[in-house]
Amino acid sequence: MSKVVMLEVKGLTTKYITRFQEDVYAVDHVSLTVEEGRSLGIAGESGCGKSTLALSLMGYYFPPLHYMSGEIIIDGRTITEMEPDDIRREILGTEIAYIPQAAMNALNPTQKVIDFIEDVIQAHDPYKTKKEIYDLARKSFEVLGLPADVLQKYPVELSGGMKQRTVIATSVILSPKVLIADEPSSALDVTSQKMVIKMLKNLMEYGFIKSMIFITHELPLLYNVTDDIMVMYAGQIVEKGTAQEVVFDPLHPYAKGLMGSIIVPEKGLREVELAAIPGVPPNLKNPPAACRFAERCKYVRAECEANPVPLHYVGGGRAYRCILPEKELRDIYAKEARTREVHEHAR
């Protein structure tokens, strides 16, 4: 596997300014790396900042979201240093592309699909002719398994699944290096969901994109689709590692809580969602200075609420944000598992 880094983010911090002029830090010093040919999944409860992270990664900010600090480097170019209009012309759509959460309404309802694609392409290359654009669009759509007559339709004429696939095909029409997909399948029926996921998996294979960030609250999807997983809590990364590691050997108590529900085969993986942990995340207008999870953590100690907790790197890209050493956490989890087994046997 090649080691070319497609997307590198260092200490990215962004905030929302509400209409009452309050600051909400939804993305707090996030750093991550995605290499060519790999996909990164981001998990967390709703409101944890994962969707905001997706928006922030685009490098193109408009109210109420504001950039504070940090760097975003795409294939060697630091886009956080560029002018907004240059980002619009040179980066968006061509280097990094986005698939929105509610793709149902992502297409302008009064425009044919092909007209929208024309606007997208001409925003970057005003000299492309209609004919060239049409040929390009038809080819990409066919490769991705979409009928070419979709191009001549209005969004209202497309079914939900078809609309979502059209959005995906449109997003990657300029072969971006990074694709950010924010819950692309959450509002669809099972069949459409499968087709969308299959399509996303194919994108890299067919060379439309070089790397992908996939955001969802459905754990099994994350495990099946992505190579690496990052767990967010209250605007911060609390754990990252390969999919295998994070799902089957989580270190952070929050990640552990999330993943705890995954290995319940009889329930059917699809039904299982994240966030089965009692309590609510802290208010990001005024987050605790120390560990943000302390309030809900089963293993909380006095030290937890004293100082900010840094992210501990434990090698191989693995990291977690907790004051307890790796070994101690593993011991606690092992002990818990044993007592649970004993309980189950007793019954």
């Binding site: 193109y60 980066i91 759509g93 929105p100 309404n105 302008n108 309802p109």
Partner: protein
């Protein structure tokens, strides 16, 4: 084009159905009320008439005209065939002028006043509303309350205020009438100028009211569209803001057009009362005269004409809308 025809026929059918229903209502509402309209008319007409045979003769004449001595469905067809031939009977208050003549003199004043005013008000209102949504800040903070206040004013209120300021105090414009009282309708410059001068205040009172309501509607629609998912998505694909604003306003405009179709009846109703304030020689003033003179045929005919005008306007807007909104053709095609 096939899709459009389907839409057109659908709307045409709806237009005809509403027309018939409006007709029936116009016919039946006065007859639902206790008392015989003809008796009421004759009672009024025969005031001061001591000759009983004369009263009887008048009664007979109107009973024949309205066919009140026949079954109700026959009356309806009689009424319909009379209306279709433009025969609304005689005006009581302006006897012996036929109603059709009274209306014929006033209807064009109303059309020439109201439709341009409503269209101008709609255009200005939508532009201001879109600007308020896009520019935000101080402009929006001023425009919104002002628009709410203006649209809270009844149309006749705006008419009274404009008249008090510009006609009574500043004397820039005349207070009443459609043209100078010392002139006769003719194709002379002085007459045309007089008509133009008399046109201003009624026109602007209707325009201002329309601006208020439309600006509020367009502002909400635009804000709604500006927050739509496709705006964010288009931005993230690198499309220029100017182009996206184009999408937004086009999409926000479409509901405003259907909104106009639905509210045109209310707007015309309000504008009729504004006409009265200026004694403008249109349908509003004719209606007032009808009410004051207890002139039943005149009222019935005026309301019918107003309804038909509104229905036609409504139909025309819907038809135009079919051309403007591409989804109509697409949705009907399959």
């Amino acid at each position: 084009m096939k899709g459009y025809w389907k839409y057109f026929l659908n709307k045409l059918l709806w237009f005809l159905v509403t027309l018939v229903c409006a007709f029936i209502l116009n016919f039946i509402l006065p007859r639902l009320m206790p008392g015989d309209p003809v008796a009421a008319i004759v009672a009024r007409l025969a005031q001061g008439m001591s000759n009983a045979t004369g009263v009887q003769a008048i009664y007979q004449q109107y009973a024949d005209l309205f066919g009140t001595n026949r079954p109700i469905y026959e009356q309806f067809f009689l009424y319909m065939s009379n209306v279709v031939r433009g025969n609304f009977g005689y005006s009581f208050s302006q006897y012996p002028r036929p109603v059709s003549e009274v209306l014929g003199a006033s209807i064009w004043w109303t059309i020439a006043l109201q439709f341009p005013a409503i269209i101008v008000g709609w255009l200005i209102g939508n532009t201001l509303g879109a600007l308020a949504a896009y520019v935000k800040g101080g402009f929006d903070k001023v425009l919104l309350p002002v628009s709410i206040f203006v649209s809270s004013l009844p149309p006749f209120g705006m008419a009274v205020i404009l008249m008090a300021v510009f006609a009574v105090n500043l004397r820039w414009f005349p207070t009443s009438g459609g043209y100078g009282f010392d002139l006769l309708p003719s194709a002379t410059w002085s007459f045309v100028w007089s008509v133009i001068v008399h046109y201003q205040l009624p026109f602007w009172s209707i325009v201002l009211i329309a601006i208020g309501g439309q600006a509020i509607g367009m502002r909400s629609m635009s804000i709604y569209e500006l927050n739509a998912d496709y705006v964010k998505y288009s931005r993230f694909l690198g499309i220029k803001d100017r182009k996206i604003v184009g999408y937004v306003f086009r999409n926000a405009m479409l509901p405003q057009i259907t909104g106009l179709a639905l509210s045109i009846g209310t707007m015309v109703g309000g504008a009729l009362v504004a006409e009265i304030i200026f004694s403008y020689p249109g349908l509003g003033y004719t209606l007032l005269n009808g009410v004051m003179g207890q002139d039943y045929p005149l009222i019935s005919a005026s309301t019918l004409i107003v309804t038909i005008m509104v229905l036609i306007a409504n139909f025309v807007i819907e038809i135009l809308y079919g051309f403007i909104d591409p989804r109509i053709k697409a949705a009907q095609a399959d």
